[in-house]
């Protein structure tokens, strides 16, 4: 089970911020989320959206072990 976190407009779009999802890779996680919510699936791969796995930004693919935290980060605004 990966813990998925959404921030900013992604959380508003999805209607949730924090959810447990059974997925073994980032690609399968994206597919699962897109299957449940096409608009969210599209937004997660939109321009400027970064992915952090266990609080480290990753580019490209990553495998997900149990209890991995995956955060989808829309463009940051600054404070």
């Amino acid at each position: 089970m990966a813990r998925v976190l959404l921030f900013g407009r992604l959380a508003d779009l999805a209607g949730w911020r924090d959810r447990l999802v059974e997925a073994s890779s980032l690609a399968s996680l994206r597919d699962l989320l897109a299957a449940g919510d096409a608009a969210l699936g599209e937004a997660l791969t939109g321009p400027g959206v970064q992915v952090a796995v266990d609080k480290v930004v990753v580019r490209g693919e990553a495998s997900l072990a149990a209890a991995t935290e995956v955060a989808f980060l829309p463009p940051m605004s600054g404070g």
Binding site: L5, F7, G8, R9, D12, A52, K55, A71, L73, P74, P75, M76, S77, G78, G79
Partner: protein, 146 residues
Amino acid sequence: MITLVAEPFEPGEILTAFCAGRDETGAVASFVGLARAERGQALALELEAYPGFTDTAIAAFADEAKARFELQDYRIVHRIGRIAPGEAIVFVATAAGHRRAAFEACDFLMDYLKSRAPFWKKEHGPDGGRWIEPTAQDRTDAQRWD
């Protein structure tokens, strides 16, 4: 030190504490950013952070600033959650041997916090809320230091 806080804070108290017991510091510069009402168009700001990610990113940047400007110390306090007009959003203080380094480091840290720090900001106005991204001016300000 960096602190993200969900409740209003008192900048004066933090500055007083930051200045205490500094026998070798010649200069402390500080900055306080407040939430603007925008003549009634901004009812509140909502700032979202990713605890453990946002504070770590700011700390890494601030430690670079500390080395670059030969700072003795810094203090950053940043609000998260819902912020009303007139409340402080951010406090930055820098301590150095001399004033130039303290001023410049404070300015540098604010440019980073305003444009690149990992926050997500929503402005609540009379017509609802909207997520906002850094302005072109914020980016230009930050690029001065590249």
